[in-house]
Amino acid sequence: MTNMRSKAHPADLPFDRRTLMLGTTAGVTMVATGGLTMLSTSPALASPQINKPAPDFTAVDSNGKTQTLSALRGKIVALEWTNHDCPYVRKHYNAGNMQALQRQAADAGVVWLTVISSPAGEQGHVSPEKANELTETRKAAPTAVLIDPKGQVGRAYDARTTPQMFLINAEGVLVYMGGIDSIASTRAEDLQKATPYFRDALAAVTKGEPVTNAVTRPYGCTVKYTTS
């Protein structure tokens, strides 16, 4: 029994430093839980999810034609956010990289929609005529250029930079979102060194293969959304 009695002492041990630790950590837990609860109950920001149905949209293109994503079901759709005066966009157009991707897509039967979400008065905003002129002078080959001055399509996709790329498969599922390649710079020399994320994704999707890097960092200028 002496054994038992000597073990009696540890029974009150939880009252020394250990208890203080418990107290502190309990506080931590409560705060952390509280924080998580707060966030999980607040409405999630609208942002597209990879391997989930891509948000549907309807927008008018530079030729006055209405383009609806759900109407393009059965075709692979590429989305490109652009602002022709953004130095990152210029890097890809001046070097012919973007046009090459657009041709590669067109050859594979992919619908390529270039989206301009700049409102009037902001950099990158263009009239439909100017949009067509840009396509012509830059020898670009998108299927259509969507004029999105209210930023509705842009916000539905949580597009934050120009350029920023999305790829939607024939079933309407988002299979790629992110940048064109891996080097965030405005220098054309970097094009050769960069890993061409979007080109790889495009090749994989047209072959019906899974995309290796489905989410990458989009880099570029901010999309100049309207504040009104």
Binding site: M1, K7, T25, V28, A32, G35, M38, I50, G178, R187
Partner: protein, 722 residues
């Protein structure tokens, strides 16, 4: 004023030096410590060196300096959603080495749904360069750089430039001009320091939180906090980071970035802004914890605690309950009965043992659940279950005293319960066994209550999982002997006989309780000084008085109204005392601030005002005996020779205010900074200029650095006025 002249003199010297160099060499015009500028309407960019001449073997810094037009910004290494960081390709002479950019802590700039990290106004990107030991004095040490940077307002413009510095090698190094050193000071003020705190990221579903634990993280000291992840994809940069701070714990509720990986490290900078608006950047490398569904934070916390120990102690506590006078005789009788059984009956007994155990566990679970409900209610009304709270500590010490008195036999708890309980255990069958177990907990109440008190005290402070675990382990401990006996009836012979030893054991158990109570009184003395001790001991006296009167009433010697009223009055008195303790920090413990010293003067508003009128620099330290962080800061930083020397060198008058007692003057002073707590440090530079508020956790380098920085901006300020 001398600053202006000095600056002009430097500029003139710089001009003539560059003219001279341009004339004498074919190299582009360059001066030793600031290159020719690449200028645009947005940015003026130069390469600078903090040394005007370097010595062989010396380590010095060069940096890309960017002076930006209003509203234009450049970027941190993680530029956020848009933009990209500057790139600097540095060339140094053979044998010299150059390090990486030491990235200054960034600010953040929102642009629609995007969030970018970078710098406005002026920034320097420093790189450390080491001169080879065999460099020859008299020879030039040429440093050149090709740089690309993006400068953005709403729109972004890529810029680039080539820069060159021809720094002479000399026997002894020469510092650069004040202007250039002031530019480096901008980067130094933002230079991230290793965090003294532990940090972890806990993820649950889409949400996750950064928790940082450590001294100095108080609501008073941290007005805002932000986590800058070192790379893209860890957090959603644009999502708000909701901070919450309890004493010593900062939690930022974050949103996951698109490529957040619960397996990967997620290092970055924690920016903390104090009430004075000063921001500091701390390098953190939080451990990442993915949550199993449900209770993420607890799951991760368990790892950091010796949980098995907690459970073991609770189990032992439960085991000891069996030896209490009101449990042991029952156990002994049952054991004797079991020992006589055999064969089929024995099997039945085994099953009964199982149900008995279940009953005990259910009873303990119900108790734990009830406690958790009470606790949740308490949290809702804002109880703080903290030993840091003097109220809680005092209350706990009295509770332990009362428990000890109970164990000593001064009074009993719920004498009536035991009698009513016995009959219910007489039911037969498994239900009977189950209820026997259930009721064993109730039956044992008179003896277990003291131990329950301890368990409840612990559980009040523990996370849900640990609380449940404590109770279940205790239940298992209580059920263990009977369960063991039902499996191994032979064990009954090994049991000691009931006897007076049980009473002595119970009385002996009182002493750990008294010891714990005494320890808590000591804690209180550390927290609130000798007034706290007075309150705690007075309360203890009243608790003892109440227990004695109550005990007398139980023993039939004073069952009347008068003793009961007296006991009640004594209890009310203790609560009254508790209120005295509420926010009554006291003077006597203010020994630290009270130690007479030649190197500081007591703080008064009048003294501060007159010193400032004279244009003298002043360092104000608000401290208190109960502010542990304050005392640590004083011991490790403010009292050190290095800091005291820096004070003397700068002619600073050191004013120390003691807030151990309530002091309306200090209270008003703190409120003028929007503060309601300590620690608080402010430096008033010479010339009666605006004070600089220092961070709550000080180091020698922070204090000395702040004095130097304030000194430099004193020189630079006429420039900004122009």
């Amino acid at each position: 004023m001398s600053g202006v002249f000095e600056r002009k003199r430097w500029r003139r010297a710089a001009f003539s030096a560059s003219t001279f160099l341009a004339l004498c060499s074919a190299a582009p015009a360059a001066i030793a410590f600031e290159s020719t500028a690449v200028t645009s309407p947005r940015a003026t960019v130069t390469l600078i060196s903090d040394a005007a001449a370097v010595a062989p073997g010396q380590t010095f810094r060069v940096g890309l300096r960017q002076k930006l037009a209003p509203h234009w910004h450049t970027y941190w290494k993680n530029s956020g959603d848009a933009g990209s960081p500057p790139e600097i390709r540095l060339s140094v002479p053979e044998g010299a080495t150059a390090g990486e950019i030491i990235w200054p802590g960034p600010d953040r700039f929102a642009a629609g749904p995007a969030m970018n990290y970078g710098y406005e106004t002026e920034i320097v990107f420093p790189i450390t360069v080491t001169v080879p030991r065999d460099a020859t004095p008299g020879q030039p040490f040429n440093v050149s750089a090709d740089a690309d940077w993006l400068v953005c307002e709403r729109e972004c413009i890529p810029e680039s430039g080539s820069f060159r510095l021809d720094i002479p090698v000399a026997a002894a190094p020469t510092p650069a001009s004040d202007d250039v050193r002031a530019a480096f000071a901008i980067a130094d003020a933002r230079r991230p320091v290793p965090s003294p705190w532990s940090a972890r990221l806990v993820s649950e579903g889409d949400a996750f939180a950064l928790t940082v634990v450590g001294a100095g993280l108080t609501e008073a000291a941290v007005k805002s906090a932000y986590f800058y992840p070192a790379s893209w994809g860890i957090t959603d940069h644009a999502a708000p980071q909701q901070p919450s701070i309890t004493d010593g714990t900062l939690t930022l509720a974050l949103s996951k970035g698109q490529t957040f990986n619960p397996e990967a490290k997620a290092d970055g900078l924690l920016a903390l802004t104090d009430g004075g608006g000063a921001t500091r950047w701390f390098e953190i490398n939080p451990s990442v914890h993915a949550a199993p569904a449900g209770n993420a934070p607890t799951a991760s916390l368990i790892e950091s605690l010796p949980l098995w120990q907690t459970a073991l102690f609770a189990f032992l506590g439960g085991l000891i309950l069996n030896l209490m006078p009101c449990v042991f005789p029952v156990l002994a009788i049952k054991a004797t009965a079991i020992a006589k059984l055999s064969g089929g009956e024995l099997r039945e007994v085994r099953r009964a043992g199982t149900y008995y155990t279940l009953g005990v566990l259910v009873a303990f679970t119900v108790l734990a659940a009830a406690l958790l409900v009470v606790r949740a209610g308490g949290t809702a009304v804002g109880w703080g279950f903290q030993f840091q709270s003097p109220l809680f500590v005092a209350g706990m010490s009295w509770l332990l005293l009362a428990i000890g008195l109970n164990l000593s036999g001064v009074f009993e708890i719920g004498l009536g319960v035991t009698g009513t309980g016995y009959s219910l255990t007489q039911k037969s069958g498994h239900a009977g066994s189950f209820f026997t177990g259930l009721l064993a907990v109730v039956l044992a109440t008179p003896c277990t209550a003291p131990f329950m008190g301890v368990a409840i005290g612990t559980a009040l402070a523990a996370p849900v999982v640990i609380c449940l675990l404590i109770f279940l382990a205790m239940g298992l401990g209580l059920a263990a002997p009977y369960a063991l006996l039902s499996v191994f009836p032979a064990l009954a012979r090994a049991l000691p006989r009931p006897g007076p030893w049980m009473l002595r054991l119970r009385q002996a158990m009182a002493f750990p309780m008294y010891a714990s109570a005494a320890w808590l009184v000591w804690v209180l003395s550390q927290q609130v000084g000798d007034f706290g001790v007075l309150v705690a001991l007075s309360g203890a006296l009243l608790v003892a008085l109440a227990a004695w009167i109550y005990g007398m009433a139980q023993h039939g010697t004073g069952r009347g109204l008068i003793p009961r009223t007296l006991a009640a009055a004594a209890i009310v008195g203790t609560f009254g005392l508790l209120l005295q303790l509420d926010g009554a920090p006291t003077s006597a413990a203010s020994t630290q601030a009270g130690v007479a010293s030649a190197n500081y003067e007591p703080f008064t508003s009048a003294r501060l005002a007159s010193l400032r009128k004279e244009g003298k620099p002043v360092f104000v330290n608000m401290t208190a005996a109960w502010c542990i962080t304050c005392l640590v800061n004083e011991r490790t930083t403010l009292s050190t020779d290095a800091v005291q020397q820096a004070f003397r060198a700068a002619g600073i008058t050191y004013l120390k205010g003691d807030w151990t007692n309530r002091n309306p003057e200090i209270g008003a002073y703190l409120r003028s900074f929007n503060r309601d707590g300590l620690p608080f440090y402010a430096y008033y530079p010479a010339g009666g200029r605006d004070p600089v508020v220092l961070p709550p956790v000080l180091t020698e380098s922070i204090v000395v650095g702040e004095l130097e920085r304030a000194g430099r901006s004193a020189l630079a300020s006429p420039q900004s006025i122009k």
